[in-house]
C-alpha cells in the first residue's frame, strides 16, 4: 500500500465513522413535541390553532427528526384529559401548553414533567412557576398602558372616555389596570367601564347604551379588536361626531388593515398575538436542535402598531 492509498483509506474510514456516529446521534435525537391548546371557540383562539398548525408544518419540514403533535381541547377538563392521553401513548420530550386556567392545569402539567418532559407554558402561567422550564407570554399590562399613553397624548391629557372590558379573567384585569393606571396621571375622565365579554354583538349594544347615556365622549377603548368592530358599527349608526378615537387591542387582521389604511378613528392597535404559540414551538425546537438554550421567561412586548410598521403584524391568511 502506498502512503497515499493508506491515507485515503484512513480518511474514508474516519469519514464513515463520523457519518455513523452522526447517523446514530440523529436516530437518538428523534424528538416529540406535544402542543396542547384551547379549541378555536373565538377569534383569538382560532388564531392560536392556526399558528400552531403552521408551526407544526414548518418545524417538521425544517427538522425531520422532530415530530410535533397538536391537540386542541374545548375546556379545562378536556385539556387535562388530553394531557393524560398524550403522555400515556408516548414519551414526550417537550410539552408546549397554553392552559385554559392556571389553577386547574398546574397539577396535571406537573405530572407530565415528572417523566422528564421539557415544559413550555404560553400566555397563562402556572400557579407554581417552578414547574415551567420556559414561559412565553404577551404583556397585557403594556397592551393597556401603551394604548392609554397614545390616547392621552392625542387627547392632550384631557377629555371624557368610555371603556369596554372582556370576560372577567386575569388577562382582562391586567389590561384594564395597565390602562387605568396611566389614565390616573392625566385629566382624562373614564366615564364608564362595563363588561362586553369580548363579543362583537355585546360590544355593539353596550356602545349604543354608552352613546345614549353620555352626550359627549371623546374616545373609546375596547380592550379587544373583536369588540372594537361592534363599537365602530354603533358609532357609525349614531352619526355622532364627538368621538375622535376608537381603539382596540390584540392585532386582529381586520383592525391591522384599518391601521394600514390610516383609518382616522383607529390609527393604532396593540398586538397580543396568538402567534406567540408559534414563538414557543420554534424556541422548543431550537432548544432540542440548535442547542440554543431556551430556558427562562420570555415576554413579548406590545408596541403600538402604526401605519409604518403594520405590515409586520399583518397575517392575511390567519383567521384572526
Amino acid at each position: 500500500m502506498t502512503p497515499i492509498t493508506k491515507r485515503a483509506l484512513g480518511l474514508v474510514s474516519a469519514a464513515s465513522l463520523i457519518a455513523l456516529t452522526a447517523g446514530a446521534a440523529v436516530a437518538q435525537d428523534k424528538r416529540t413535541i406535544a402542543v396542547s391548546i384551547p379549541a378555536a371557540t373565538h377569534g383569538w383562539t382560532g388564531g392560536v390553532v392556526y399558528h400552531a398548525e403552521q408551526a407544526e408544518k414548518e418545524v417538521e419540514a425544517a427538522f425531520p427528526n422532530i415530530d410535533v403533535i397538536v391537540k386542541t381541547s374545548p375546556s379545562a377538563t378536556a385539556q387535562v384529559s388530553a394531557l393524560e392521553d398524550l403522555s400515556a401513548g408516548q414519551e414526550l420530550d417537550a410539552l408546549v401548553i397554553l392552559p385554559f386556567t392556571s389553577e386547574e392545569l398546574t397539577g396535571p402539567v406537573e405530572q407530565v414533567k415528572a417523566n422528564g418532559t421539557f415544559i413550555a407554558v404560553v400566555d397563562r402561567g402556572l400557579t407554581d412557576p417552578s414547574i415551567q422550564d420556559m414561559y412565553v407570554a404577551g404583556d397585557n399590562i403594556a397592551v393597556g398602558a401603551n394604548t392609554a399613553k397614545w390616547m392621552a397624548d392625542k387627547l392632550g391629557g384631557e377629555g371624557k372616555i368610555v371603556v369596554l372590558r372582556g370576560i372577567p379573567t386575569v388577562i382582562d384585569d391586567e389590561r384594564i389596570k395597565g390602562f387605568t393606571d396611566v389614565m390616573e396621571g392625566t385629566n382624562i375622565e373614564i366615564l364608564d367601564i362595563q363588561y362586553a365579554n369580548w363579543n362583537q354583538d355585546e360590544a355593539f349594544k353596550l356602545m349604543q347604551d354608552y352613546l345614549a347615556k353620555y352626550p359627549h365622549i371623546d374616545a373609546v377603548w375596547a380592550n379587544d379588536d373583536d369588540m372594537l368592530l361592534g363599537v365602530l358599527e354603533a358609532v357609525k349608526q349614531s352619526g355622532r361626531t364627538d368621538i375622535k378615537y376608537a381603539l382596540g387591542g390584540n392585532g386582529m387582521k381586520d383592525v391591522v388593515k384599518m391601521v394600514m389604511d390610516e383609518s382616522p378613528m383607529t390609527p393604532v392597535s396593540t398586538p397580543y398575538p396568538p402567534s406567540m404559540i408559534k414563538s414557543a414551538i420554534y424556541m422548543v425546537a431550537g432548544q432540542f436542535n440548535g442547542q440554543a438554550p431556551m430556558r427562562g421567561n420570555f415576554k413579548l412586548d406590545a408596541p403600538l402598531i402604526t401605519p409604518e410598521n403594520a405590515d409586520q403584524f399583518w397575517y392575511p391568511d390567519s383567521p384572526f
Binding site: 388564531g47 372590558r165 361592534g230
Partner: protein, 329 residues
C-alpha cells in the same frame, strides 16, 4: 316535557283572565317607568329605537319558540342554528355576488330560509320520529350547529363581501316611516304567528298536543306532525332573525347567537307561555323579549349597579317578574 296531566283551565271570571294575560305588559310598563326615573336619557327616541331594534332578533325567534313550547317541546339549538344559518347565508351571498350583484342578498336570504326550515325539520324529526326527548335532541343539534359555524370560519369570522355591505345595511339600520326596519319585520312575523296560533286549526292543535298529547292523539290530532311543523316554523323564524342580523355587524363568528336560546326561552316564559306546553302567548313572548333588553339597557344607563353584579340583578328582576305574574293570577 311531553305530556302533563294538566287541568283544562276551569272557566274563570273574565276579568281575572284578562289580568293574567296582561301580566307581561304590566311588567314591561313597570320596567319602563323605573327606567325613566333612573335616567332621563332612557326615554330619548334614539335609545328607545336602539333597544326595540335590538330586541327584534330574540323577539322573532321567540315567536317560533312559542309554537315549539306550546306544543310541549323545547328547542335549545336556536342560538347555534342562528349562527349556522348566518354563516351559510353569508357564504352563499359572497359566492353569488360576482354574478348577481346586490340581488345576491335576495337569493342568499332565500337560501337562509330554506336552510333554517331544514334545520328545524331535522330537530323536529329527531324529536318525533326518533322519539328523543326534545331537551337532549336539541342539545345535540346545538353542539352540531355551533361546531359547524366554528369549522366554517376556522374559529375566526366569516365577513360579508364589501360590495354587499352598503346595499344590505338598511335592513338593520334603515326605517319605514320612522320605524326601524327590523321592528317592522318583527311586527309582520308576530302578526303572522298570532294568526296561525290563534286563528287556525294548526294553532289549536299545537296547544292540544302540548296540553295533553294522549288526548290530542285520541281526538285525531297527529301530534308528531304538529310538533314537526312547529320546529319548522321555529327554523324559519331563526332564518328571518338571521336575515336582519347580518347587516348589523356584517359577519358570522363562533360566538354569534351564543346563549340566545336561554334568552328566547326566558322571553317566552316571562310572556306567559307555559314551559310544559299547552298554552302559547305570542304577544307575551314579544313583551318578554322587550323586558329582557330594557333591563340590560338600564343596567348600563344606571350607575347604581357594580359592573360585577349586573347578571345577578338581571336574574333577580326576572324571578321577581315571574313571581309577580304568579300572584296576579
Amino acid at each position: 316535557m311531553t305530556s302533563a296531566t294538566t287541568n283544562i283551565a276551569a272557566p274563570e271570571p273574565a276579568r281575572r283572565i284578562r289580568w293574567a294575560e296582561m301580566g307581561p305588559f304590566i311588567a314591561l310598563a313597570l320596567v319602563i317607568v323605573i327606567g325613566t326615573m333612573i335616567n332621563s336619557n332612557f326615554l330619548t327616541s334614539t335609545n328607545i329605537a336602539n333597544v326595540v331594534t335590538r330586541s327584534a332578533f330574540v323577539a322573532i325567534i321567540a315567536v317560533g319558540a312559542t309554537f315549539v313550547i306550546s306544543s310541549g317541546c323545547l328547542d335549545l339549538s336556536v342560538g347555534s342554528m342562528m349562527a349556522f344559518v348566518t354563516g351559510i347565508m353569508i357564504l352563499a351571498m359572497n359566492r353569488l355576488e360576482p354574478s348577481m350583484g346586490a340581488n345576491a342578498i335576495l337569493v342568499g336570504a332565500g337560501v337562509g330560509l330554506v336552510v333554517g326550515a331544514l334545520c328545524g325539520l331535522l330537530n323536529g324529526l329527531i324529536v318525533t320520529v326518533g322519539k328523543i326527548e326534545p331537551f337532549i335532541a336539541t342539545l345535540g343539534t346545538m353542539g352540531i350547529f355551533r361546531a359547524l359555524i366554528t369549522w366554517m370560519s376556522d374559529g375566526g369570522s366569516i365577513p360579508i363581501d364589501r360590495a354587499l355591505r352598503e346595499p344590505y345595511r338598511p335592513v338593520y339600520f334603515g326605517n319605514v316611516l320612522g320605524i326601524p326596519l327590523p321592528v317592522v319585520i318583527t311586527l309582520v312575523v308576530v302578526l303572522m304567528g298570532a294568526f296561525i296560533l290563534y286563528r287556525t286549526k294548526f294553532g289549536r292543535r299545537c296547544a292540544a298536543a302540548g296540553s295533553n298529547a294522549e288526548v290530542a292523539r285520541f281526538s285525531g290530532v297527529s301530534v308528531a306532525g304538529v310538533r314537526t311543523t312547529a320546529y319548522v316554523i321555529q327554523g324559519l323564524c331563526v332564518a328571518i332573525a338571521a336575515i336582519c342580523y347580518i347587516p348589523r355587524l356584517g359577519a358570522a363568528t363562533p360566538t354569534t347567537g351564543q346563549l340566545w336560546e336561554l334568552q328566547v326561552i326566558t322571553a317566552v316564559v316571562i310572556g306567559g307561555t307555559a314551559l310544559r306546553g299547552g298554552k302559547g302567548r305570542i304577544w307575551g313572548s314579544v313583551a318578554g323579549a322587550l323586558i329582557l333588553e330594557v333591563i340590560a339597557n338600564l343596567m348600563v344607563l344606571s350607575n347604581m349597579v357594580s359592573e360585577y353584579l349586573v347578571a345577578a340583578v338581571q336574574g333577580v328582576i326576572i324571578i321577581l317578574a315571574m313571581l309577580a305574574h304568579r300572584f296576579i293570577k
